[in-house]
């Protein structure tokens, strides 16, 4: 499914020092699936053939942050090792493949999405139209960050792009589905947020005790499936009793 060809990133990778113990390999200066695919491809290349001294890699929208011990591997030597791998990642971004596809149940509006009405009014749309457009899209999980398991999804349809709230809320409920600028997100836990809350999923996306603590991985795909408020409660109950677990369509 969605066997779209992935165009190569337009920018050659840049390797930038981040202090003396990290390097940022940047694949561009934009949020785009092909750029993010190159980031994940480099991440996979390093995971497949670990480099001595590298302690951790952190993939984000357009860059891979490589943490290392500079007394175990000299920064310049690591740059020399990473350059050809970055070039390979650009040449073969498909190595990252098509991620798993999640059909995420989301109760839009009402108590579960307290900003849906104002956001719809702002765009001159009916609430149902916002829901239709938001749930029609298959989003890419670009990265996890900000808080444990917090998934940044994109790209949001242009018609739904909305600047962040002027006054961030000190707390928002776990599972909130929100819009901030050109991004949409699924929050994993109660966090402060200036994004617009349009819905909520009962499916936990961060479970510290679980073997797989985060539901989503970077590169996964997510499509929201609208459910009624009553179904939210029913599903939350089944999840609490261990009777329900969301299963994705496998990666290709």
């Amino acid at each position: 499914m969605l066997a779209t060809r992935v165009p190569a990133p337009s920018c050659a990778p840049r390797i930038l020092p981040v202090g003396e113990a990290a390097l940022s390999v940047e694949f561009g200066d934009r949020v785009a699936p092909e750029v993010n695919a190159a980031v994940l491809a480099l991440d996979a290349l390093i995971a497949a053939a670990p480099i001595a001294g590298v302690v951790e890699t952190v993939p984000t929208y357009r860059a891979l942050l490589v943490h290392f011990d500079p007394l175990a591997v000299a920064p310049a030597a690591l740059e020399t090792l990473l350059a050809p791998l970055a070039a390979q990642a650009v040449a073969e971004p498909a190595r990252a493949g098509q991620g798993r596809l999640w059909h995420l149940p989301v109760a839009y509006g009402g108590a579960h999405g307290i900003d849906l009405a104002t956001l719809a009014a702002r765009h001159g749309m009916a609430e149902g139209e916002v829901v239709r457009r938001h749930s029609a899209e298959v989003y890419r999980v670009y990265m996890l960050g900000f808080a444990p398991g917090f998934a940044y999804l994109g790209a949001l349809p242009a018609a739904l792009v909305t600047p962040r709230r002027a006054e961030p809320r000190l707390t928002t409920p776990a599972g909130s589905v929100s819009i901030g600028g050109a991004q949409t997100a699924v929050t994993s836990m109660a966090v402060p947020s200036g994004w617009h809350l349009i819905g909520r999923t009962p499916v936990p996306t961060f479970t510290p005790a679980a073997e797989r603590m985060c539901l989503f991985e970077p590169g996964d795909r997510v499509q929201c499936r609208p459910i009624a408020a009553a179904d939210f409660e029913a599903l939350a109950g089944r999840i609490a009793r261990g009777e329900y677990g969301l299963v994705p369509e496998p990666a290709s």
């Binding site: 930038l16 020092p17 981040v18 202090g19 003396e20 113990a21 990290a22 940022s24 940047e26 200066d29 934009r30 949020v31 302690v55 951790e56 890699t57 952190v58 993939p59 984000t60 929208y61 357009r62 860059a63 942050l65 943490h67 500079p70 007394l71 000299a74 920064p75 990265m143 996890l144 960050g145 900000f146 808080a147 444990p148 398991g149 917090f150 940044y152 994993s188 836990m189 966090v191 961060f206 510290p208 603590m213 985060c214 970077p218």
Partner: protein, 338 residues
């Protein structure tokens, strides 16, 4: 055995060297803001240097031990230690017996003190570390913030822990004045030229709102270049200096978010991070740019200094001042040492 917290709050948490490998999931490393003092506290009680300890900010804590005596140490560039109200030497082994109240915290010249106990805590690790991370709700005592009344289970202490003191001066290789060394980048071009000069030319005051997530600095408001005050969110490191829209730098600490979208204009050199993070609210600091190669050399020297940090038996101190310290210790503890 238990360590009971009599006076405590969110300003105290259990920290070790932190957890690596989970930033890709949005879980930061956490860990001690000053790993040098953590290592020193542990060395004074015979523990491996990264054993989990209590990391304490002002106004400090009061604890008692239940179930038997325990050897502990409170380390910081400057710490306040008192047993039943009587001042006790910092950076030295302390014997705490049931019924005695220990008060401990950083002195006015430090931000963090570390209370290590011989044997350590009998608590379960979360993702390879006991470090508490508030936002993730993991680590420490069941993933929640500590509060007065909490009881922390202790590993039964080893039978013979000698009385030790840290050799002074300098107790703490992270001490020392002079500017905090930084490596420029990766987004230094988001600062206007004058702002870049101001970052290294002006003094910066540590604000009281600073915490384990970040140290907020007050001073000249730094103007951004035409590139602006936002970037595409990417990874951050310990010591990243980010400059948000208001122009006031924030230096990211151990409980930082894993990614950030403000320009990250420089990074505090690892060798200077413990010293920087120990700067208490109100202290002013200056930054000086160095090359990456200089930072690596400084880190190598720093690690040697930490490895060479000496603790000696309390009874074998060579100089008069130390002998007086020994007498003080004997007076308080009735000569319990070897």
């Amino acid at each position: 055995m238990l360590l009971r917290l009599i006076e405590a709050g969110p300003w105290v948490s259990i920290q070790d060297s932190g957890r690596l490998g989970y930033q890709r999931y949005g879980i930061g490393p956490s860990g001690a803001m000053d790993p040098v003092s953590l290592a020193l506290a542990n060395r004074l009680v015979g523990n491996p240097p990264a054993t989990a300890a209590l990391e304490i900010r002002a106004p400090g804590i009061t604890v008692v031990v239940e179930g038997g005596p325990v050897a502990l140490a409170v380390a910081a560039p400057e710490a306040r230690v008192a047993l039943d109200g009587a001042p006790h030497a910092d950076n030295a082994t302390v014997r705490l017996t049931p019924g005695q109240r220990l008060r401990a915290g950083p002195g006015p010249g430090a931000a963090y003190a570390y209370l290590a106990l011989a044997g350590g805590f009998a608590l379960a690790e979360a993702f390879g570390s006991l470090s508490f991370h508030a936002r993730s709700g993991i680590g420490g005592l069941g993933g929640r913030a500590l509060a007065a009344g909490d009881a922390l289970p202790l590993v039964p202490p080893p039978p013979a822990v000698p009385d030790l003191v840290a050799l002074a001066p300098p107790v703490h290789p992270a001490l020392g004045d002079g500017p905090i060394r930084v490596i420029e980048g990766p987004q230094a071009d988001h600062l206007a030229a004058e702002a870049r000069a101001a970052l290294y030319g002006e003094a910066w005051a540590v604000q009281p709102r600073s915490d384990r997530m970040g140290v907020r600095l007050a001073g000249t408001r730094l103007q951004h270049s035409a590139k602006g005050a936002e970037t595409i969110s990417d990874g951050v490191v310990l010591g990243s200096i980010q400059v948000p829209g208001n122009g006031l730098p924030i230096v990211l600490g151990a409980d930082r978010q894993t990614t950030g979208g403000y320009p990250k204009v420089a990074v505090v050199a690892r060798a200077d991070q413990p010293r920087f993070f120990q700067a208490p609210p109100g202290r002013t600091v200056r930054f000086a740019p160095i090359t990456r190669d200089q930072a690596v050399a400084a880190l190598a020297a720093h690690r040697r200094a930490v490895a060479d940090m000496r603790v000696v038996p309390a009874g074998r101190l060579p100089d008069t001042a130390a002998l007086m310290a020994e007498n003080l210790i004997d007076g308080v503890y009735g000569g319990e040492r070897d």
